[in-house]
Symmetry: C2
Subunit: 340 residues, 2 copies
């Protein structure tokens, strides 16, 4: 977690950001909106649902029921002209949306293939393979970004794509070194929803590396102090062991103390069992329970609640609205928050 | 031409940029690589040729003949997996390219439709139509950017897309107000070819407007002082009247003096005729001879030669190589340069 403080040239945000949303798992591979194991394949239905729920969560009660899309471009493979309801837009007093959200996504089945074939994360741009891989990785992740921006726009959300590389974000031995968020803040002021993504970036020591969506979220959470952060994933939350295990227990509430230690508040586990789980977790590789909780704990310690829920469920809608009650029996998800 | 000096936070470039290339006409609509009058349609053959010629112009003599593509993504509508020659790349000592180029493109048949339906250039983000149009315009122009980056990458050119909006570029009453080029310079240092585009941006007075590719080129020429600037267009250069007029004469060489005045050096026109042409030009609307020459003159006065030539010809290849001889009878194109 140790990280050099990035250079800041960012103006102060005048009103707090409501929510930062990660499309895709925490410490995971962007699952939820892309199809795992299939190169550059979007799960259109999950993506559409996530965007529609985001719109519902943003609605301030005055948003018209009829959704007017903002993607006025041809879709690949669809020769039909896009529908532009200019008169409809002109007649609206406002969008009726509290669009003070930031969306971040990982690479999922975009970018990973290109990055791993070339070793971009290891750096070394003198290698033509790494240089080519850097280019190929950016093409892939920006393609996904474009599709997510379009899906949000089709739901009437004023989304704007922003690549960390183009924003000038860079790293020093993989830790953020320069990450100016002024344009993100300006875009929020102007009523737009910035959409960022894990990206290939320049690194001061290694020449280049991969900046993950989770590191972006952590940095933005520190900088913008949103009310809450939501991770939309393909499982209900963090389990005490791989969710495919029939004995896996969903951890509904985790408290983080000032020292970064954490404890499971709900469900109440028997003492013995807890010991077993932590020992299981210790053997997890990246993407395991421990990693996920530690990542989320950094955000929770800022006083920002973290919700991890399954995309396209009533739980994800509640999380996006910031309306989570862990005492309720019908809540499925994980809340990670600072101990009171 | 009057413009407030943009805020600069840009590090000095250590070696001069060789060339800034505009894909698309000067003061024109991006013609050359998109099909005029057809919504979001790329002229694939012209684009492919422009990229192949760029590769030839960049080659330092050691580039292998076999082109290894850097676009390792699926193409829309093509289910085949991309070809990745990782072993080939790993075996190369270097790319053999002097890639110290910047590429800029206009909107062409991308973005104009969305911008004009909504009036983004006039500003006013309180209007839901303008806000939607801003989103729609950016989606369209970034789609084109993505396709151009991919076309360059397929020719083995290490291209990286950079949106002016995401870079934080903004305007004040349509003049550039903030235009930090440090990331462009860093990318050039690292051996990448930045690909910028005309974009919808935030404006300090108007809320938002359109930043054209020509304004971007002018700014980058001032900042980076390239050896030469090339405009690849769909006609041979600047004519004394619309090129469709059978009497139109191609202006092969124009000199610009210190005061911004200009004179036609080649061909030698009869005194009478010259008077006629200037009077014709005076009635031209945007995109006319006068506008084009005045735009180019700003760059030429920096001591940077400007070449305007037709894409996909031997002339465009010569221009991209910076190897133009206006004394030669077989040169078709317009050179605009500072008077000696």
């Amino acid at each position: 977690m140790a990280e050099a403080a990035p250079k800041q040239r960012s103006p102060a945000a005048p009103r707090p950001v409501r929510c930062i949303v990660k499309l895709g798992a925490l410490s995971g591979c962007g699952a939820a909106i892309t199809n795992k194991g299939e190169l550059e394949s979007i799960d259109e239905e999950s993506l559409r649902s996530a965007c529609a729920q985001l719109r519902q969560a943003m609605s301030d009660g005055t948003a018209p029921e009829k959704v007017r899309g903002m993607d006025w471009s041809r879709r690949p493979g669809d020769p039909a002209d896009p529908v532009v309801d200019a008169e409809g837009f002109a007649g609206m007093a406002g969008l009726g949306l509290d669009s003070n959200f930031v969306v971040v996504h990982g690479a999922g089945s975009f970018g990973h293939f290109q990055a791993s074939r070339s070793g971009v994360h290891k750096g070394g741009l003198h290698s033509t393979l790494v240089k080519a891989g850097f280019v190929a990785t950016r093409i892939s992740v920006t393609s996904l970004n474009q599709e997510i921006v379009r899906a949000l726009a089709r739901e009437g959300i004023p989304s704007v794509g922003m690549s960390p590389f183009a924003c000038g974000w860079s790293t020093q031995r993989r830790n953020l070194a320069s990450a100016n968020a002024s344009q993100i803040i300006e875009s929020l002021h102007a009523g737009f929803v910035p959409v960022l993504h894990g990206d290939a970036v320049l690194d001061e020591s290694l020449d280049c590396t991969i900046l993950s969506g989770d590191v972006i979220i952590r940095h933005l959470a520190q900088l913008l102090t949103p009310k809450y952060v939501v991770f939309l994933t393909d499982v209900h939350g963090v389990y005490d062991r791989p969710p495919t295990d029939p004995n896996a227990v969903l951890l509904k509430e985790i408290e983080v103390d000032d020292n970064g230690g954490w404890s499971i508040v709900k469900p109440a586990l028997e003492g013995n069992r807890k010991g077993v789980e932590i020992s299981v977790a210790a053997h997890d590789t990246t993407g395991g329970m421990e990693t996920k909780i530690l990542e989320a704990a950094v955000i929770a310690r800022l006083g920002v609640d973290v919700y991890i829920t399954k995309v396209d469920t009533e739980h994800s809608l509640r999380a996006l609205k910031g309306d989570v009650n862990t005492s309720s029996d019908d809540w499925l998800g994980t809340v990670i928050r600072a101990a009171k």
